[in-house]
């Protein structure tokens, strides 16, 4: 296999890893107002329960995005340059969202003040919902094609992206991540929250299934290959199987289902895109491909060695983290206050 193809696959794997992992923590963030409802003490415990399901892992999940970005830069500089400069404003919005979301996780429990927490709750919700939507819009547009000129430059604007298929892509990722997040919560908690989350996952999952089928069929009709049709079929079957498992109260299998479904859906997009990396709607010959956008064979060879050696190491310790925090948590595991929080009044330097 050519190295450019290898790297296309690796980058697809990194994006897939990003969406199957960060997908559930986006879902948890978006479900905070629903499953963590209530401004009283009870609601606060529920919110903290939800946050603590993803506490130890969301940061590692986000690194998949950084690695995908870095790998795209290294292996396909033109892809990186065209995509990141072309999707300028959506990426800016995503950056702001990811910033406030991460700080929300880390800072919301550090001051014992309802107003403080409420503000960070909004940050966590928007910081999860906005990227969930915009990544779907962006990726769908990349696969369906964008106006790109002979110099590999994007010539559209923000509104070019807000076309019906692009928006459908965004809604699909939101629905899929909500389902994935709800099932993750059902898998990681015990008590009321667990049961509510599971029931919710089936309802949202049904919507996600309809949206995903329409989206993947639309994309495959437009630019699909035999492989991308097959991946779409896997996605559909896995999602339905996952929802059935949720219905049967088998949360572990349900999570496997949504995990595979999101993975296969992302794979569908990349298989439909291949061998292009950015499709030009202006003129097919202006499209960026794995060949004309790539780095040299020398750079790709070095990167292949690095990836071959270190990716297994990363996967190993990532799995170990998930193993370490494998136990379900319930309301009685949540300590009264976050440890070490300064009581009000102590917080003055004089």
């Amino acid at each position: 296999m050519e190295l450019t193809t290898v790297w296309f696959i690796l980058i697809a794997v990194l994006w897939t890893g990003y969406f199957v992992l960060e997908g559930f923590d986006f879902g948890v963030g978006m479900l905070m107002p629903v499953l963590g409802r209530g401004g009283d003490e009870h609601g606060e415990v529920r919110k903290r329960l939800l946050l603590n399901t993803i506490g130890p892992v969301w940061d590692g999940n986000e690194v998949w995005l950084l690695t995908a970005g870095g790998a795209t830069f290294a292996a396909f500089p033109h892809w990186y340059a065209t995509m990141f400069s072309g999707l300028y404003l959506p990426l800016l919005i995503i950056l702001v969202a990811l910033i406030v979301r991460a700080l929300g996780f880390d800072y919301r429990g550090k001051v014992d003040d309802p107003t403080w927490r409420k503000r960070w709750d909004i940050a966590i919700f928007l910081g999860s919902a906005v990227p969930a939507l915009l990544w779907g819009v962006a990726l769908t547009n990349v696969v369906m094609g964008l106006p790109i000129n002979a110099d590999k430059e994007y010539t559209g604007n923000l509104f070019t992206l807000l076309n019906p298929v692009g928006l459908l892509g965004g809604l699909t990722t939101v629905a899929l991540f909500l389902t994935h997040g709800a099932i993750y919560i059902a898998l990681k908690t015990d008590g009321d929250v667990r049961h509510e989350a599971r029931q919710l996952s089936i309802k949202v999952g049904a919507v996600a299934a309809v949206l995903a089928v329409i989206l993947l069929v639309t994309i495959n009709v437009s630019t699909g290959s035999a492989a991308s049709w097959a991946a779409a079929a896997v996605a559909a079957v896995a999602l339905l199987a996952g929802l059935f498992a949720a219905f049967r109260q088998r949360e572990g299998w349900a999570f496997v289902g949504t995990f595979v479904a999101i993975g296969a859906a992302v794979a569908t997009l990349f298989l439909a895109l291949f061998p292009n990396v950015m499709t030009s709607t202006t003129n097919a010959s202006f499209s960026l491909t794995t060949t004309n956008a790539s780095s040299t064979a020398y750079t790709l060879t070095i990167m292949t060695w690095v990836a071959a050696i270190f990716t297994p190491v990363v996967l190993l310790y990532t799995s170990w983290t998930y193993w370490t925090f494998r136990k379900r948590i319930s309301a009685h595991h949540i300590p009264v206050t976050s440890v070490g929080i300064p009581s009000s009044g102590a917080g003055t330097l004089s």
Partner: protein, 483 residues
């Protein structure tokens, strides 16, 4: 301002801001890991309390460093797409490797450290923070390799067919002689910040009237921080001296600009401590000079010769052409001048050195005045407490501003000028939007971050609690740490 200027302002603002958190992370990770290891070795409760105390401050700082780091990776493609296309074959690899080797390591093991107090055996728990510290070093190595390549491009050739720079020797990029001096200089500077932070926080608590039985613990923190600062400062001086010589060799203009030396000096070039008046070389100005010092900084000999801005400029104009767009040649050059902004390089160079030196002197004073069971009571010490973490921190900032501004007009030295690197399809309005958005957001976050840090510093080290062995823990007990 055109799109180039706005993109440069944005890069400067978000990078300097990001770099407020980076040195604290690099420096504190190793100190916190050291405290925890000390606790495991001699079971002194104070060490566990210090571990938890500074560990908490570490995580508050890390969060903002992490999120502002994402902007760093994205903005090469967003604002500097032509640069990304031109150098991606070389520059992208260290970035990708940094993410794969360092970011995963830091994020995963910090998560384990924060949430793993009641899950991991104690030694493994301490090992997690050591791995975070290793992660920060790996991260620094690869990103500095990328930056050093911009200062002194090696291991590549220009390919006329593809119109870009292409890698042909990755080892040369990783062992670039600029990199080999920049890495130790950057790391020791960061350790100075971490040490000064611990010293200042310790000293503030030590001087508090109600310190009582905690005096011993805070004295330890203060003195460990001070020693750390001092040893790191020694490393900064040595590595900085080596760096000056390499810089003079590969970027003579930067050294000339650091002194605003317009005309070459055959020997005994003086170094001015400060100057009153303009720095455009047009007139004699009042300045305090140390004879021969510039020669020494640049060459290692007091009688060494140092080239001046005018001579170097003439050489560059001959080499790269004057006032022309010269993209057909082996480089992308478009610049009206080969001289960086002299007052900027002149002053940032001095401020960097000055702040670092004052920081080191305070560390010495702290060691002296906290010896035995002394507690420095004079009111002026409060100012020292406030200033100590900031002095080396700002020295870091000014060092970066110096080295990046001193490279101008080049983006990649001798190969590509800054004006040719921006995204051609991104409008000035879009860059303005992101500049204003990020600046306002960062300003708000700076206030929140400072407030949080001060609250947690003021709260002091948590009381000692004997840790329960994870193996003996009640499964239904509340988590030791939870959001």
């Amino acid at each position: 301002m055109d799109a180039v200027d706005i993109a440069r302002w944005q890069f400067a603002i978000v990078t300097v801001y990001h770099y407020f958190f980076v040195p604290v992370t690099i420096g504190l990770s190793v100190i916190v890991a050291g405290f925890e290891t000390a606790w495991l070795r001699n079971r002194n409760p104070e060490m566990l309390r210090l571990t938890k105390f500074f560990g908490k401050l570490f995580t508050i700082n890390f969060a903002l460093g992490l999120v502002t780091g994402i902007v760093q990776e994205f903005q090469f493609g967003m604002n500097w797409s032509d640069y990304s296309r031109f150098v991606g074959d070389i520059f992208g690899a260290p970035l990708a490797i940094e993410a794969l080797l360092a970011f995963f390591l830091e994020s995963t093991f910090l998560g384990l450290w924060i949430f793993g107090w009641d899950k991991l055996p104690p030694k493994l728990h301490a090992a997690c923070m050591w791995l975070v510290a290793v992660g920060t070093l790996l991260s620094a190595y690869f990103i500095l390799a990328a930056n050093s390549w911009m200062q002194h491009p090696v291991g590549y050739r220009f390919n006329p067919a593809t119109g870009r720079a292409e890698l042909n020797d990755f080892v040369a990029v990783l062992t670039n002689k600029v990199q080999l001096v920049t890495f130790p200089h950057t790391i020791t500077s960061a350790y100075m910040v971490g040490g000064a932070f611990v010293m200042a926080v310790g000293l503030w608590h030590l001087r508090k009237p109600g310190v009582g039985t905690n005096a011993g613990m805070y004295r330890k923190a203060t003195r460990i921080g001070a020693w750390f600062t001092l040893v790191a400062a020694l490393g900064v001086v040595v590595s900085g001296d080596l760096q000056g010589k390499i810089m003079t060799e590969v970027q003579p203009m930067k050294m000339a600009a650091a002194e605003a030396l317009y005309n070459s000096e055959a020997s005994n070039a003086p170094f001015s401590l400060f100057t009153v008046g303009s720095l455009d070389g047009s007139q004699e100005k009042f300045s305090v000079k140390v004879p021969g010092l510039l020669s020494f900084l640049a060459t290692g000999r007091f009688d060494g010769s140092v080239e001046g801005i005018n001579e170097i400029k003439a050489t560059y104009e001959k080499q790269y052409g004057a006032d022309t767009m010269n993209s057909s040649a082996q480089s992308r050059v478009f610049s009206k001048s080969y001289t960086p902004t002299i007052p900027l390089t002149y002053w940032t160079f001095r401020i960097m050195i000055g702040l670092g030196m004052v920081g080191a002197l305070i560390a010495i004073a702290v060691l002296w005045y906290t010896r035995g069971d002394r507690i420095p009571r004079h009111r002026l010490w409060l100012w020292a407490v406030l200033a100590t973490p900031l002095l080396p921190l700002f020295a870091n900032s000014f060092g970066w501003i110096f080295t990046e501004a001193g490279r101008q007009p080049w983006l990649v030295f001798g190969v590509m000028t800054t004006a040719t690197g921006v995204s051609p399809n991104v409008s000035a309005g879009e860059v303005w939007t992101s500049l204003i958005t990020l600046t306002l957001l960062y300003a708000v976050l700076a206030v929140i971050e400072t407030k949080l840090l001060l609250r947690f510093i003021a709260a002091g080290a948590p009381e000692f609690e004997e840790p329960v062995d994870p193996a003996d823990r009640d499964e239904n007990a509340p988590l030791v740490f939870a959001y």
